[in-house]
């Protein structure tokens, strides 16, 4: 059954020329773009499966070179530079990101598959904001509550995921630099391009050589970086599975570690919630960025008395989501980032069928090419099912019900994860009561998926430790 659209939309594609795509990209070490001696990779547009560019990758020797460059830069200059001077470089970077915002947004959408509306309105503005916010910290660290003269750690090795490639680079680089560290960052294998353009921005900002180094590659490059003895600090955003491996690898080395890992957030809707607003929040919670969000509201807990009504409204709303060309400004849900991720989403969705959940799939048309997965809602989900326990990292929502607030809390917390949670109710006291009991690092009440550089972000339990953003986030990059 195809639902009649209320309006027909003419395609409104953003021009891909804006991305100034180059046929080849090189790694960035010691202030220069150089040929990596690893096996080059080809990065693909997940919406079309066409190769976008060839990207040089780092060999172990290249990682070593990058770490040495970062060490020199830290010891000789960046670590000693007055904070007020470091700040000015970060402000410059923030401004350059704003100036090249459109280019970065289009490039991000091409490489990642996320809708241009999101890369343009969320990712890139938050990148600039993150640099701007942390620039201001650089000469105010004495006021952050970590003593009168908190010192940097040294060289930070940072490994980031593919779901917000540029934003995660900003979340890692901005606080590290503000605190006086230098960085070697490994972008994700499938989304290396925007980090390399950020490297170009560092050049344009005249950032001293070695302060930021970008080493593209796969997991082996990340492992090389994490295990490098010249690294003082390891920061990782990615899966809990890999996070555990990194925590094991770092054990006994004395390296400071922060981990921002997976999640299986409960989004809890009470019977007094304004249903239309809640539905918008649920949609934003799980379909934002194709559900490739560690804090996605992937478990919907609905109070039983309103479950049928809410599900009906939700399905109607999800049916209107436009899935397709990420460059089209009307697109709501873009491409799944890789064939591998698509296969994983399909496999988990099939487990939902096999375990007896009821699958509903949006009747939206899907493009013929590229990696796409139609928005999917599973109802009649039990807590024991894999779709209720495992992070799907895709546009798949699992719906469970509850009767009492206590049951909602128990179900929400019944997971080894603890990154985020949502609450929908008109009752203020219940919001605060719930917010206190949910074991999650970020709680969104009557909203979802909001981010800001001044608001600490990070998990409880197996969603990792350490915070990014705000005063709390500085601890990760200071020797305190």
């Amino acid at each position: 059954m195809t639902r009649e659209q209320v309006w027909e939309y003419a395609p409104a594609p953003e021009s891909r020329d804006v991305a100034r795509l180059k046929p080849a990209y090189r790694m960035f070490v010691d202030g220069e773009f150089v040929d990596g001696t690893g096996e080059p990779l080809k990065t693909v547009n997940p919406a079309t499966e066409e190769v976008l560019a060839e990207v040089g990758t780092a060999s172990p020797a290249d990682v070593d070179r990058a770490v040495r460059a970062a060490r020199r830069a830290h010891d000789r200059m960046w670590g000693r530079m007055p904070g007020a001077e470091r700040a000015k470089y970060l402000f410059r970077i923030a401004r350059l990101v704003q100036e090249r915002a459109r280019e970065l947004a289009v490039l991000e959408t091409l490489d990642n598959g996320k809708p241009i509306r999101e890369s343009r309105d969320v990712d890139v503005p938050l990148v600039a904001a993150h640099f701007f916010h942390h620039a201001g910290w650089a000469d105010k660290l004495a006021y952050a509550g970590y003593g009168p003269d908190p010192r940097p750690l040294g060289v930070a090795g940072q490994v980031i995921p593919w779901n917000f490639p540029l934003l995660m680079a900003a979340w890692k680089i901005a606080p590290a630099l503000a605190c006086g560290n230098t960085v070697v960052l490994k972008p994700a294998e499938t989304t290396p391009l925007s980090a390399l353009v950020l490297a170009e921005i560092c050049q344009q900002a005249d950032l001293p050589p070695g302060v930021v180094n970008i080493v593209p590659g796969a997991g082996d490059v990340g492992a090389e970086l994490v295990n490098h003895p010249g690294v003082n600090k390891v920061a990782f955003t990615g899966s809990t599975e890999v996070g555990k491996l990194i925590q094991r690898a770092v054990a006994g080395t004395g390296k400071k570690l922060t981990l921002e890992l997976g999640g299986k957030a409960a989004n809890v809707v009470f019977d007094d919630a304004p249903l239309d607003q809640a539905v918008e929040g649920i949609v934003n919670g799980i379909f934002f960025n194709q559900g490739h969000v560690c804090c996605a509201g992937s478990r919907l807990l609905v109070q039983e008395s309103v479950a049928d009504e809410l599900l009906e409204t939700l399905r109607r709303r999800v049916s209107t989501l436009r899935v397709g060309d990420p460059l089209d400004k009307n697109t709501d849900v873009g491409a799944i980032n890789s064939a591998e991720q698509l296969a994983r989403i399909r496999e988990l969705a099939e487990s939902g069928d096999a375990e007896g959940a009821r699958r509903w799939t949006s009747p939206c048309p899907l493009p013929d090419k590229g990696f796409f997965f139609a928005p999917t809602v599973f109802s009649e989900v039990q807590q024991s099912m894999r779709i209720a326990r495992e992070e799907i990292f895709g546009p798949v929502l699992a719906v469970l019900t509850f009767r009492t607030p206590d049951e909602a809390v128990a179900k929400a917390n019944n997971t080894p994860y603890g990154l985020s949670a949502g609450i929908w109710t008109e009752k203020g006291s219940r919001i605060l009561w719930m917010a206190q009991r949910l074991r999650a690092g970020v709680v969104w009440a009557n909203t979802f998926n909001r981010f800001d550089p001044s608001a600490p972000f990070g998990g409880y339990r197996e969603s990792g430790f350490g915070r990014e953003g705000g005063r709390a986030g500085l601890e990760a990059y200071l020797d305190v």
């Binding site: 509550g145 925590q247 970020v442 009440a445 909001r450 800001d452 608001a455 990070g458 339990r461």
Partner: protein, 289 residues
């Protein structure tokens, strides 16, 4: 001929879930003083005792973490009050365990008592100092608060039998966590007496669970236990530290690493240990009329 009164010797037990018990394994081990003299037998806790202690700590967590900061502060202050009343006993036990006498041992016991007072005063300031109102760029009210991490396993310092123990335990409790403590292996007796103080103060049963025994035997079970959220390796034997940290990675535990050598516990503490066992929670709500 004056009759010499025979003292009543104490049986040193584990303290789990608010009750004093022998090890379920039936094991005990002799504890000797600094000059090698026999002092007493201590219970040698087993893996099962460690698991029971974790269960008790988990059970006590909602109540203790949910208590008001004012209440927790008063409860911790009360520990200091009761320790003061047993000051002579602590002087004797610490002296026997550590071989220190006179003013030195007095200063250690006094500092241990004062440390409870210091941390008692922190309970209702942690959120003020570590929390924040976040000026986000949008129509939202956004704030961050520190919350207790959960169940914390503490490998207490091996040398400083009382002051070291209090210095690692009090911040964990002040922040609202519950604890499973493995006392100094060779100097466990002051720890058991501290447990007796805790039992008769207002600290609810299960908030502190104290095990005596072999640190090397008990610590791997605590490092791997899925219901332990954090582990303090301060008293971990040096050869085991890396392996314990690796084991802790299995459930992404927060790990407070051991310093290279045991710190000077008489120094005034800072808030590092409070920060180590809290999680920052950020809450958002829209603003609008």
């Amino acid at each position: 001929m004056s009759e010499q009164r025979v003292a009543v010797a104490k049986t040193y037990k584990l303290y789990v879930g608010g009750a004093f018990s022998r090890s379920e394994s039936g094991r005990s081990y002799p504890v000797t003083g600094a000059r090698g003299e026999f002092l007493a037998h201590a219970a040698q806790a087993s893996r099962k005792d460690a698991r029971d202690a974790v269960s008790a700590a988990r059970k006590a967590f909602p109540g203790w973490s949910g208590a008001t900061a004012y209440n927790r502060g008063q409860v911790l202050y009360r520990v200091a009050e009761l320790m003061e009343g047993r000051r002579d006993q602590f002087l004797a036990e610490v002296s026997a365990a550590e071989g220190t006498n006179g003013r030195r041992v007095q200063s250690l016991v006094d500092a241990a008592i004062d440390r409870w007072v210091w941390y008692a005063g922190w309970t209702d300031k942690i959120a003020t100092v570590l929390g924040s109102a976040n000026p986000v760029a949008g129509p939202y009210f956004c704030f961050s608060v520190p919350e207790p991490t959960g169940v914390v396993a503490i490998l207490a310092p091996q040398s400083s039998s009382l002051l070291g123990l209090v210095s690692v335990l009090a911040p964990v409790l002040a922040a609202g966590n519950t604890a499973v403590v493995v006392a100094s292996q060779d100097r466990p007796l002051p720890a058991v007496t501290l447990a007796e103080v805790l039992a008769t103060s207002d600290v609810p049963g299960g908030v502190v669970n104290l095990l005596t025994g072999r640190t090397a035997e008990l610590s791997p079970w605590l490092a791997s236990h899925a219901d332990v959220n954090a582990i303090d390796l301060t008293g971990a034997p040096a050869p085991l530290r890396t392996e314990l940290e690796r084991t802790a990675a299995g459930t992404v535990k927060r790990v407070l690493r051991a310093p290279a050598s045991e710190p000077d516990w008489t120094r005034t503490p800072d808030i590092t240990r409070l920060r180590a066992f809290v999680e920052t929670k950020t809450v958002w709500h829209p603003m609008g009329a």
